[in-house]
Assembly symmetry: C2
Homo-oligomer: 154 residues x 2
């Protein structure tokens, strides 16, 4: 696992949620996802393609945390995951990947981003099917948990 490649995603999510939603996540150490299954209620996903590699990223939130982020951003808390929440998760996915893309670009790793997809459904699980290792980064705060999964070929 190349930490240099993974840390920008970690730093970018902490940064985006702290500046956009005054929500301060604590990250655990990134680890290889093997048999582990991480469930969540709403997930943003995006494809990445560069000259050296291609891959996929997902950011998964528990419902309680997603609703709290909406609350912090808009002043109102929706009762459940609705289109406003999925829009926000799509935006966060774009911003986190864009932030990591900038940091990685400075180090010579270039990639382009596809457009995000957001999945909602209680307790779904994500399976990245690229050839490379799957990296899992867990995050938490009082309002609930989130996790990033990243997988790059090669």
């Amino acid at each position: 696992m190349n930490v240099e490649f993974i840390n920008p995603f970690l730093a970018s999510l902490v940064n985006v949620l702290s500046t956009m939603a005054q929500t301060h996540l604590t990250a655990e150490k990134p680890r290889l996802k093997k048999d582990e299954v991480a469930k969540g209620d709403v997930s943003g996903m995006i494809g990445m393609i560069g000259p050296q590699t291609k891959g996929s990223l997902s950011i998964t939130f528990e419902e309680s945390l997603a609703l709290e982020i909406m609350h912090k951003m808009l002043g109102e808390k929706p009762a459940a995951i609705d289109e406003e929440v999925t829009d926000m998760v799509g935006e966060i996915t774009n911003m986190v990947t864009g932030g990591a893309k900038n940091m990685l670009g400075e180090k010579g790793y270039e990639f382009e981003m596809a457009t995000p997809i957001v999945v909602s459904g209680k307790g779904h699980t994500i399976n990245h099917k690229g050839d490379g290792p799957k990296i899992l980064i867990p995050f938490s705060c009082d309002a609930g948990k989130a996790h990033i999964e990243v997988c790059f070929d090669k």
Copy 2:
């Protein structure tokens, strides 16, 4: 909606399932997805990036259909959606997108594919967050339903 751009995805799914799994899907007419919500139990997703556009594709299966496809391909029917099933859905997603990529390449629309992600979870819904129209193509056969959703920017 540019039918020239959408039909290759439709034709490719019908072709892949017919040749790989002797499963003959009937496609409905592609339509714009507006308020409609299409649920499924296992979905393959992939990002696409080309010089003219970028976008995302998802293929969603009801559990009954995903298990029947496994049955037809392997001779054994798993009791539920497991890693073998998500691997198969990831492969189908790659093959369908690759088939459409070839057909579209012949017409001068080029794109590269990211790596697939597969989501499993009862009754989840998919929200493509690209800027362009979201196209929904429903499919069905005796074993259950599937649908493709495609969204390209521009």
